[in-house]
């Protein structure tokens, strides 16, 4: 029974961590350009002007 007293805060804390992570990613603009993000992975970044 005392286990619950630790487990519940831990569970909620982990969930909160995810929520904070989501807010951070939203704020840093990671959801602004969903299609672009999917395409940027295909760009080689060996330095500018290599194409």
């Amino acid at each position: 029974m005392t286990g619950i007293l630790f487990l519940i805060p831990i569970a909620i804390g982990l969930g909160l961590l995810g929520l904070v992570g989501f807010f951070w990613s939203l704020k840093s603009g990671q959801f602004d350009d969903m299609d672009g993000a999917a395409l940027r992975i295909l760009i080689d970044d060996d330095g500018p002007g290599d194409d």
Partner: protein
């Protein structure tokens, strides 16, 4: 991650956004972002692929045309976007997404605790779990419930009611009662139900808002005349590019062939013909010389002219049209969305039901605690969870389907209004017709002449050359190689083809009525005159037929002269009104509307702007003026007119699904409400019923994809 986004380190540099509709692949992103900063005056470029937009931070002295040229060198067309259009996009969606994330997080945590309670936790454990649920739920409801509380309060203050009123009352009462239960160690707490309700409803709101943003981005990418400017000749004889809001009266602007005027003025040097079609709907170009007045929004066809500005910005002839448009748009804002119309009946019904079950149980001697518990269960069960999802879920699926067909619908309300129209009013120039000159006698040219013509036409940005180039490229003509290519403004293009001189240029022969002519000379042989006319849009006839099948009668309302409208009207079998001013079009719509008809206005020009704003629903082609696109409910891409009928069909299919969803939601209430009134609904049953009905409604909405294929 690969290819980290370059960020401008100097935030002090001015930043300008350009819409670049031509970017289609990863290569385009890297090309724009790596090559643009190498151009002089540009510090950094950042692409937003979803919005088809690139923001460029540049030195203050770099002008917009210079940047456009730099982008053009990479092979992309671009248009500057005015600041006021960029800012608001996505703000609402972001707020809703945050609220949705918070309520989703809280819902899952509370549900976890509730499952333990449902499966038999008792005594201290149950109380502890209720307390934790309350600690999670209270801040969540305060944060995520704001959009609903705010809207409900605004409605109540104005003596109206909307969907948000029963939602706010239900959530608030359920929370208050659950708090009381928690304090007194009671068995039933509805925190899970209240938060789940918010989560589902926020999902619906967010979908609605995402749909609006997507369409707005799409339309912004098409805007072209806005943020225009002009090359102004300064006192020392040099020239300088000024944005249209910086233009002042008595400045002299240099307008090249193929450019649109940014302000009203008087020609002080040169002579040319002007395409007035966007402003007045007239398809025949008007010849103007020194002393004549020309208006903003018209297109200079032939040669360069110098224009002394007599009116700029808010004082131009365009501003009158803008004022008309503002007034006309008010009628549209009076439209009440389907969900809110349902709420007018729904909200009072729900509240009466809850109140009467409270009173009923009290009379039967159940005690106020139990009676209140049952009343809250009724409120929670009847809360329009499925209703709140029913409309946006169907509409976002429909918007996705329409977008694939090349139709950008601006919001859900537009879709609802599109479904109800029963009368169509078409503009002629640019709407039923292409609004661009197309050569009509290409058949008279030999294959050799065609190849020469294409090579010459490609060298010029003159509207007739562009039309000729498009037509020849469609035929698959290959251009010949030319030497000494030279464009003489106002005269045409000439070059050497081997040893022969070839020329594509103005002619005075062969022009009649609305048709324009161009002469093509190859060597010493006699010149061939190419005639140009404004061609009908593809599928125009089929579209009118399809509309008739849908029970929508069509007619033409044009600003053009009767002689120019007659052939089009005859070909399509439509009645037509001609020579109409913007005010006349408004009056026509008002007359039809007072006869109980719901008018679908389809138009493109600046002169159609007020009518587009006033129509019950309105559509504009992507080639339309900015004012037209801004005023219309939906914009369709491509040359064909077919999307007009498709838009109405999909809108009607959507409305059917919405009605089915309403029926499902009501059917669920018919079963669940008696149970709630009898006091059989526990928090567990409420949670199951709510998520079950929501899933069914969303599933039914997704069916729309298959129906409208």
């Amino acid at each position: 991650m690969n290819a980290p986004a370059p960020r401008a380190s100097l935030t002090a540099l001015p930043e300008t956004s350009f819409s670049v509709p031509g970017m289609r692949c990863a290569g385009c992103i890297s090309k724009l972002e790596t090559s643009l900063p190498m151009a002089s005056g540009i510090a950094a470029a950042r692409v937003n692929f979803t919005a088809k937009r690139v923001s460029i931070s540049h030195l203050p002295e770099t002008t917009i045309p210079e940047i456009q040229r730099a982008i053009a060198k990479l092979g992309f067309e671009s248009q500057p976007i005015a600041d006021n259009l960029v800012a608001p996009t996505g703000e609402d969606s972001r707020e809703l997404l945050k609220a949705m994330a918070v309520s989703g997080f809280a819902m899952m945590n509370i549900m976890l605790l509730s499952v333990s309670v449902w499966s038999g936790a008792e005594g201290g454990t149950r109380d502890l779990f209720h307390w934790i649920s309350a600690l999670i739920a209270l801040p969540t409801i305060a944060y995520s419930g704001r959009p609903f509380f705010r809207s409900a309060w605004a409605a109540l203050r104005h003596g109206r009611t909307n969907m948000d009123v029963p939602i706010s009352i239900g959530v608030t009462l359920a929370t208050a009662l659950s708090l009381f239960e928690t304090f007194t160690g009671g068995a039933h707490a509805y925190f899970d139900g209240a938060v789940m309700l918010l989560f589902f409803l926020l999902t619906g709101r967010w979908l609605d808002s995402v749909m609006r943003d997507r369409a707005r981005d799409g339309v912004t990418a098409l805007l072209k005349n806005r943020a225009a400017g002009a090359l102004v000749i300064t006192t020392d004889g040099s020239s300088e590019w000024l944005a249209s809001d910086k233009l002042k009266t008595d400045m002299v602007m240099l307008v090249a062939a193929g450019e649109r005027l940014a302000a009203d003025g008087e020609i002080v040097k040169g002579a040319s013909r002007f395409d007035l079609s966007l402003l007045t709907g007239e398809s025949a170009p008007a010849a103007m010389a020194i002393g004549d007045t020309v208006h903003a929004g018209t297109l200079n066809l032939d040669g360069p002219v110098e224009v002394r500005i007599t009116a700029a910005g808010a004082t131009t002839a365009l501003a009158d049209i803008a004022r008309l448009m503002e007034d006309a748009a008010q009628s549209k804002s009076r439209y009440v969305r389907v969900a809110d119309r349902a709420a007018r009946y729904y909200a009072p019904a729900v509240h009466t039901l809850a109140l009467s079950s409270f009173v009923g149980w009290m009379l039967m001697g159940a005690g106020w605690h139990q009676s209140l518990l049952i009343a809250v269960a009724v409120l929670i069960i009847t809360c329009p969870c499925a209703l709140g999802l029913a409309v946006p879920a169907a509409q976002i699926v429909a918007a996705g389907v329409l977008m694939k067909k090349g139709i950008l619908v601006k919001d859900g309300s537009a879709l609802e209004r599109l479904a109800e129209v029963d009368r169509a009013l078409f503009d002629k120039t640019g709407t039923l017709t292409m609004g661009q000159p197309e050569p009509v006698n290409l058949g008279e040219l030999s294959a050799e002449q065609k190849s020469v013509a294409l090579a010459l036409a490609r060298a010029s940005r003159h509207p007739l050359s562009q039309g000729l180039r498009r037509a020849l490229e469609r035929e698959g003509v290959k251009a010949v190689a030319l030497d000494h290519l030279e464009e003489i403004p106002g005269e045409g293009v000439k070059a050497l083809w081997g040893l022969q001189e070839v020329r594509l240029g103005r002619t005075d022969a062969g022009e009649a009525g609305a048709s324009l002519g161009v002469s093509l000379d190859v060597g010493d042989a006699s010149a061939t005159v190419l005639r140009f006319e404004d061609a009908m849009r593809p599928a125009a006839e089929a579209t009118i037929e399809q509309l008739a099948k849908l029970g929508i009668e069509s007619s033409i309302a044009s600003g053009d002269r009767a002689e120019a409208v007659a052939p089009v009207a005859r070909a399509l079998g439509l009645t037509a009104q001609t020579g109409m001013q913007p005010q006349d079009k408004l009056d026509t719509i008002a007359r039809l509307a007072s006869g109980g008809q719901k008018v679908l206005m389809i138009g493109d020009g600046l002169n159609d702007g007020p009518a587009l704003a006033a129509g019950y629903a309105s559509l504009a082609p992507a080639s339309a003026s900015d004012a037209g696109q801004n005023a219309a409910d939906a914009v369709f891409l491509g040359d064909s007119l077919a999307p007009v009928a498709q838009a109405v069909e999909v809108a009607r299919a959507t409305q059917r699904i919405v009605r089915q969803n309403f029926a499902l939601a009501i059917g669920y209430n018919v079963i669940a409400v008696p149970l709630a009134i009898m006091g059989l609904v526990t928090p567990l049953i409420a949670a199951l019923a709510m998520s079950g009905s929501s899933l069914i409604v969303v599933g039914n909405a997704i069916r729309l994809k298959a129906i409208t294929k």
